[in-house]
């Protein structure tokens, strides 16, 4: 057994860094949510003022609506990556090449992915519009990122593109844990592939489905990088999500509204936790 002094010595460096750079700022942020603070003068206690103002602020509701809309990406990602996992979970020569290729977007920094897709989707010089024009599918350029209705979906597509390989790997691990004799006996009984998928694969994958839904919905509610590089919340705040709204209040507005931004952060925190709990609840009910 270790002495108390030794335990302390082992935990001190990491504990100190974690307290100083994670816990202390977190406590500070939760406190600031109840203050008015603009960096230039001392924080002034505001009680629930920030939260009250948030509720009556149209831009907050707009960002909240966009963040909820963004959650559409979660079920789409989960089902698409499950299908891809099933597709590559077979013994076939060269299948590893496809698995590897599908995974590559995951290790590309999101900012680079965002910049790349921004170049592909831009109105006039973008590769996609040029391709579609040369195939005579469109006459006018499509405003993928500057069109008010399309912008948020273009950003969502990048989240989808980069996430699919990650969740594919999660599902692949789950699929490989399913004993193959289950499928063999189902085949002997004359079950179709679809029946086997519904009755064997889906129930046994449930913990992995839950994991993927929690991970992808938490990520969707916290989305920032792709919004920042692709649309900066525009046009007309049509792709401004909650985290971007928080960022804009704290760092784009002048004077900055730090307390208000921290209050938005607290709301995002509860939203993320609530969505995770909801996922768990709904999936363990069935």
């Amino acid at each position: 057994m270790m002495s108390k002094r030794n335990i302390l010595l082992f935990m001190l460096p990491g504990g100190l860094l974690f307290a100083l750079f994670a816990l202390y700022p977190l406590a500070g942020a939760l406190k600031l949510a109840f203050y008015d603070y603009n960096v230039f003068s001392a924080p002034a206690f505001a009680g629930l003022g920030n939260f009250r103002e948030m509720l009556s602020n149209a831009n907050f509701w707009n960002a909240g609506k966009n963040s909820l809309l963004y959650l559409i990406v979660t079920p789409v990602l989960a089902s698409a990556s499950l299908l891809v996992a099933v597709l590559v979970n077979r013994k076939m020569r060269g299948i590893n090449f496809f698995r590897t290729a599908y995974f590559i977007p995951v290790v590309i920094p999101m900012v680079i992915a965002g910049i790349t897709w921004k170049l592909i989707l831009s109105d006039d010089i973008g590769a996609l519009n040029r391709l579609l024009t040369s195939m005579h599918l469109i006459k006018e350029p499509v405003y993928w990122m500057t069109g008010a209705d399309l912008a948020i979906f273009s950003v969502m597509f990048v989240t989808f593109w980069k996430g699919i390989g990650y969740y594919m790997v999660m599902f692949l691990t789950g699929l490989q844990n399913i004993p193959s004799n289950l499928y063999e006996s189902a085949q002997v009984d004359g079950a179709t592939d679809f029946y086997a998928f519904r009755r064997i694969t889906l129930p046994l994958l449930k913990p992995y489905i839950l994991l993927v839904l929690i991970l992808s919905s938490t990520a969707a509610i916290k989305v920032f990088d792709e919004v920042y590089v692709m649309t900066a919340g525009g046009p007309l705040r049509k792709s401004e999500t909650l985290i971007y709204y928080m960022y804009a209040n704290a760092l784009n507005d002048f004077p900055p509204r730090i307390g208000f931004a921290c209050a938005v952060g607290a709301v995002i925190f509860f939203l993320a936790a609530a969505i995770a709990v909801l996922n768990k609840f709904v999936l363990s009910e069935k």
Partner: protein, 252 residues
């Protein structure tokens, strides 16, 4: 087969297009001029150097501090252990961006603003790494520790000579995940690094892409340079990478 190839086009098509854009001139002839230009004129070499410093030190310190912290957490009983693991678990749901303003003032007070240390120190200890390594320590057979103690090794020597070599696969997994996470960091470096000579690749490239005069070909070349290290690492260490990623997510 058709669907496999269709998906390949979706996943790799954009990357192939960026590679093509970066390696051709405006007439479609192959050239490396864009790489040379990005490297020299767009300061990519500087950004790359900064990213390598940040990521290298973050990986090293993260392995060191997390493996030290996780050791007594996994193997010893002491007062307050339950409270510490509860706090670690609770931090999983925090949107860390909300802490950036108080974190910024901590960094300013310590003189870390506009310095690479201001990126490294806040990102080298996290709940994920600690819990990941606690799990690895727990899988070591207890008898090995006992015989090491009978041999009279000090607790530090047992950690260093017995435990660490046995959890090497997990350390490798954590190293790779930390590498990719740190390499991709964006919002915090964007806030804490003010001078462009301190920018990391992600911040530098987003700055470049926002310039009105941005040269697309340079941007494409810079993007490829920014992707190469993590893609190469992934290709070289696929097995460790994927098992580490899945274990980290399941435990986290």
């Amino acid at each position: 087969m058709a669907s496999l190839i269709g998906l390949l086009l979706l996943a790799a098509g954009p990357i192939a297009w960026v590679i093509y854009t970066s390696a051709t001139d405006f007439n479609g002839h192959l050239t490396l001029a864009n790489y040379a230009g990005a490297w020299r004129d767009a300061n990519i070499s500087r950004y790359l150097f900064n990213s390598l410093v940040v990521t290298g030190l973050t990986v090293f310190l993260s392995l060191l501090f997390c493996s030290l912290f996780a050791y007594p957490m996994a193997l010893m009983d002491f007062k307050g252990k339950k409270a510490v693991s509860f706090i670690l678990m609770a931090t999983f749901f925090v949107p860390w961006e909300m802490t950036f303003v108080p974190l910024f003032s901590v960094c300013v007070k310590m003189g870390l603003d506009n310095s690479l240390w201001g990126v490294i120190l806040p990102s080298c200890v996290g709940a994920m790494g600690i819990i990941f390594l606690m799990d690895a320590y727990k899988s070591i057979p207890k008898s090995l520790f006992e015989s090491a103690r009978i041999d009279g090794l000090s607790e530090f020597a047992i950690w260093y000579k017995v435990a660490l070599p046995l959890i090497r696969p997990s350390l490798a997994g954590l190293a790779i995940i930390t590498f990719v996470t740190s390499w991709s960091l964006f919002m915090w470096p964007l806030i804490i690094l003010r001078e462009s000579s301190n920018y990391t690749l992600t911040v530098g490239l987003s700055y470049l892409s926002g310039l009105f005069s941005a040269n697309l070909k340079f941007l494409a070349a810079g993007s490829i340079i920014a992707c190469l290290p993590s893609v190469a690492l992934f290709l070289a260490l696929q097995k460790h990478f994927i098992s580490g990623l899945v274990k980290g997510a399941v435990k986290g």
